[in-house]
Symmetry: C2
Subunit: 274 residues, 2 copies
């Protein structure tokens, strides 16, 4: 089960699926991507996307993905059912669910599509950041396994600000991040990277509180050429919240290429107690 | 079929559903909310949310909603199937589909939940805007029916900038908006309002081009007390895009209360040709 025994990257082991030929896929959680309870939400989202990509009826590339974390995922095997609900000329719509022992733990919808050259403009601006090699990777607390699979170089709002216990006026975190060991970027890896930020409420409050993503949406702006150009370079990732209250907060994230293109934007709503 | 024949608001007629007692609901499109092709996407999203609210197993209030526009909706009757996939202590997860003649036109997932008092903070800032009564409502082009159901007072990026044919450097539109005639705000109406912006690509290019929402997500920040306080006051609504390219662009929207609270944030990915 350990990735050191084979040449396969831990990420590829974690999203590996066995198809039954009828739109169902078997997988299992891996210890490398364990979170406090169950697996890292980003790896679950990546696995849902991978199921669509491996479905024999899949057309085109990912355009959007929404994953709803309906219940805890236990360590061990799971099944993903992927259904192509509707196929159009440009887009294909998918409905998915992940179950364990017949109980749904995660639901998702995905849109795949054909990208065609059009007018293009990036209106958002990447945060200013020094080059990744000028920032030392942060030694992250070892209690959570999945963070060990990411090289994180924090520019703003790092985890060290959790230790100090000081409340922060801003929920923004900006970092250079990539898989560790480095791995060429693909859509599942980009999906997982969009969930790589620790809960914004902890940054604001300066302490660890219970929090868990309820729903995550990723909009994929990069085509396969852009992913290939990014390869295993670090991504510039930034996230912030707009509102916290009544037990929920939102998070908006941007994932930028090493040379400035916008690869993906992502949104999530997170449950918290504080 | 016209709302003038009864005292019912056209919005309530449009989202009206008849339950079959087994989680299926019958409805029909109304001419008042017609778009260029099929109904206004906002009214479809509102109707999906209304189906959950009317389901006998519904617990709590809307927390998030994602609607995927899988195919065109024809004028006439439709069926919504709403399934409570999982109910937890704080959240309830729903999967929905809207069909016509057995063909799925729209899919959705929703999270409902119980709101509890917690630490609260609004980090986003409302755009600056003069009071609504100081801005004349825009006479909107009469070709699209649904816009007649909204009172729109544009502060920035109005529809008049589509006529001039001048490309704009910013995709931001900000307006005061409410149902017309005025109607107390509820979650379905808030859902529809989150889709009230014309496609951002048209503002940037200064001309009308083919465009249609592929997927829409709404995060509800307002509890029922906030909705009651908002009543039928205009909302301050703002939307902008981060990236346009390869036939798709995103839109991020914020819906602010008349007195400054953040009622909802919303995101969508839109197909376009230009």
């Amino acid at each position: 089960m350990t990735s050191t025994m084979t040449s396969q990257h831990a990420f590829d082991s974690a999203v590996a699926l066995t198809p039954d030929g009828a739109g169902n896929f078997s997988g299992r959680t891996t210890p490398e991507y364990a979170n406090m309870v169950g697996p890292f939400g980003g790896i679950t989202a990546a696995t849902m996307l991978a199921a669509v990509q491996q479905h024999p009826q899949c057309l085109g590339d990912p355009v959007s993905l929404t994953v709803n974390y309906a219940g805890p995922i236990a360590e061990g095997p799971f099944t993903i059912a992927a259904q192509p609900v509707r196929t159009n000329r440009t887009t294909q719509h998918w409905t998915l669910s992940m179950s364990q022992d017949g109980i749904v733990a995660t639901t998702a919808t995905a849109v795949f599509g054909t990208r065609r050259e059009t007018w293009t403009s990036t209106e958002a601006a990447a945060p200013s950041a020094p080059p990744p090699h000028t920032i030392g990777p942060d030694p992250l607390p070892g209690v959570i396994a999945w963070v060990g699979n990411y090289e994180m170089r924090f520019i703003e709002g790092g985890v060290t600000e959790l230790d100090g216990g000081a409340a922060q006026p801003s929920s923004t975190t900006t970092l250079w991040v990539r898989d560790q060991p480095a791995r060429p970027l693909d859509y599942p890896a980009l999906t997982a990277l969009s969930d790589v930020f620790f809960p914004r409420v902890m940054l604001r409050l300066g302490r660890v509180v219970p929090a868990g993503t309820v729903t995550l949406t990723v909009y994929f702006h990069a085509d396969t050429d852009r992913l290939a150009a990014q390869s295993d370079h670090p991504l510039l990732a930034t996230a912030r919240s707009q509102h916290f209250g009544n037990g929920f907060f939102d998070q908006a994230a941007e994932l930028w290429a090493h040379d400035g293109g916008l690869l993906a934007t992502s949104h999530q709503l997170v449950y918290f107690k504080a």
